[in-house]
Amino acid sequence: MKRGLALYALGAYAFLHLPLLVLALWSFNASRFTVWQGFSLGWYSAAIADTRLVEAAANSLLIAAIATAASTVIGTLCAYGLWKRNSFTLSNSLYLSLVTPEIVTGVSLLAFFQWMFRYIGVRLGMHTVILAHLAFSIAFVVIVVMARLRTFDASLEEAALDLGANEWQAFRRVTLPVILPGVIAAALLAFTVSIDDYVITSLVAGVDSETLPMVIYSMARRGVSPVMNAISTIVVAGLGLLILASERLQRR
């Protein structure tokens, strides 16, 4: 059973990483096309030299980091509040935000920002992208954290109150540490949907806020370029190493 599960997991990982390997391999190809013509780092130097690409990658990471942090905090608090007692309006708006097609979310936010900024006078930019990402990732966070809270034993919290902790301390010292794996999973999910979003981002982005998916879409329109494979490989390898490092640090 155990070995069967491991083999199955191996297969699933192969499925998940096969395209990644293909694009990584491809990024070392000397040719621009999908024909192998020898090893080259040319696309990497081209990617790093492309200020627009690098800036967009930095923008993407910044947006995803801020939006993830905010939506994880807000979403976790919200899940906890809803777990205490459901709120019909709030939980249904979260559901609704989940079932809204991306293009509708994008168009509605664009219309809203433009209508609002007519009175406040701020333009589209980094902040609107971050707000949009926050808006569409909260539901994911709430759902994942809620799934975790459902298996949380409420008497743990009563025990904390009973032992002299007030409600906030009970949450902070007992509930939160116990549901932390769920919160981390939620944050990962939020980060993933944020860093990968194109449709909504492209609609609410302003002059200063081009993200990596936007640049990649614009490059891909004229045919696949190994430069985007190179930058993707850099981003994935970089974040992968970062995770590995933080894992090591935590264990120490």
């Binding site: 910044l62 801020i66 329109r221 970062l242």
Partner: protein, 341 residues
């Protein structure tokens, strides 16, 4: 992890927002300038340009429709210029600030969508035709009707665009490209549905790699994309179908919301310089509307019929027009039918 990235990125963010130099915001189609076009302008005029790109005309329109997008110069397709003008989104073109306007080819000095260039300055243009791989396809397709033949069975693609698919069907039937006639459009739909089983897919430029590798024998394609494919694989050929074909142009416009109209015009005028325009046309493999620039192009490029079909071929082309609401709506309904057939 997040905190570290956040801290690392902060200086970058600050860098984006702080600059005392005047700044121009330009929003263009992707891959529509040469690598040094923008930096040269920045250097010469001592300004900063925020240059960003879009993938579809709709993306552009969605942004600028409200009139506070933040952009100064944008490049809509010709069919979008009348609506944008009517929506009062465009600033009038100040010819006195555009001494290079005379460089345009005569035909673009007075295009049908803006005969006196009051609102727009033509930039690049293109056409829709058929690309095929001459290594495998020995009898060259010459018309849209050829495209319907069995020999391309499941090894041909059409563009994923209702204007082009319905347009090709209309032209094959001998109807005008911009037809709003319900009967003609319904016939065109039937034509499009009849070819669908023989098509492998509806795809845009992405088909390029598969054409080069030989997965596909032929594809409906825009001329600039076709030229890029031909550059990569000389076995590919581009034909202008005999029944006629779609012509389209993109033009530079200054948005009414712009608070830097003068600088915006400087930029448009800069783009009209022969050497700038020819560099762009060379770098992007697109067709410039600038006659003076054309003269600077290397001989093979200038005589390349894919990019510059010449007056005889052009005479068969039909400019895409802004569709009426009724026609647009019918076409969308028919497109949905074609796609779900």
């Amino acid at each position: 992890m997040n905190r570290r990235i956040f801290l690392l990125s902060l200086p970058g963010l600050a860098g984006c927002t702080m600059s005392s130099r005047p700044r121009l915001n330009v929003y263009n189609w992707s891959e529509y300038v040469a690598p040094d076009t923008i930096s040269n302008f920045e250097r010469e005029f001592g300004v900063r340009v925020r240059y960003s790109t879009y993938e579809s005309a709709e993306e552009l329109v969605a942004k600028v429709w409200s009139g506070n997008s933040g952009w100064d110069v944008v490049f809509p397709s010709n069919t979008y210029i009348p609506p944008m003008r009517d929506q009062k989104l465009l600033a009038p073109v100040r010819h006195e600030w555009l001494p290079n306007l005379g460089n345009l080819e005569p035909v673009y000095q007075s295009p049908s969508w803006d005969p006196r260039l009051e609102w727009s300055v033509p930039y690049m243009h293109g056409a829709t035709g058929i690309v095929y791989n001459s290594n495998v396809v020995h009898a060259a397709p010459g018309s849209w009707a050829d495209f319907w033949q069995d020999r391309f069975e499941r090894r041909a693609t059409m563009l994923d665009d209702p204007v082009e698919v319905i347009g090709a069907a209309l032209l094959k039937l001998g109807y005008p490209l911009n037809s709003g006639d319900a009967v003609q459009l319904r016939q065109a739909r039937n034509e499009a549905i009849s070819i669908k089983p023989r098509l492998r897919a509806y795809v845009n430029a992405e088909v390029r790699d598969q054409l080069i590798a030989g997965d596909m024998l032929a594809a409906q394609m825009w001329s600039a994309d076709a030229q890029r494919s031909i550059n990569a694989s000389p076995a590919l050929r581009f034909v202008y179908p005999s029944e006629g074909f779609a012509l389209y142009g993109d033009a530079a416009v200054v948005l009414r919301e712009s608070r830097r109209a003068r600088l915006a015009h400087e930029f448009v005028n800069y783009l009209l310089r022969p050497e700038v325009s020819s560099a762009i046309a060379l770098a992007c493999g697109s067709s410039t509307a600038n006659a003076a620039a054309m003269r600077l192009l290397p001989e093979p490029v200038r005589n390349n019929s894919t990019l510059y079909p010449g007056p005889n071929l052009l005479a068969r082309g039909q400019w895409l027009e802004t569709l009426t609401p009724a026609s647009q709506r019918l076409r969308d309904r028919l497109w949905t039918e074609i796609k779900s057939a």
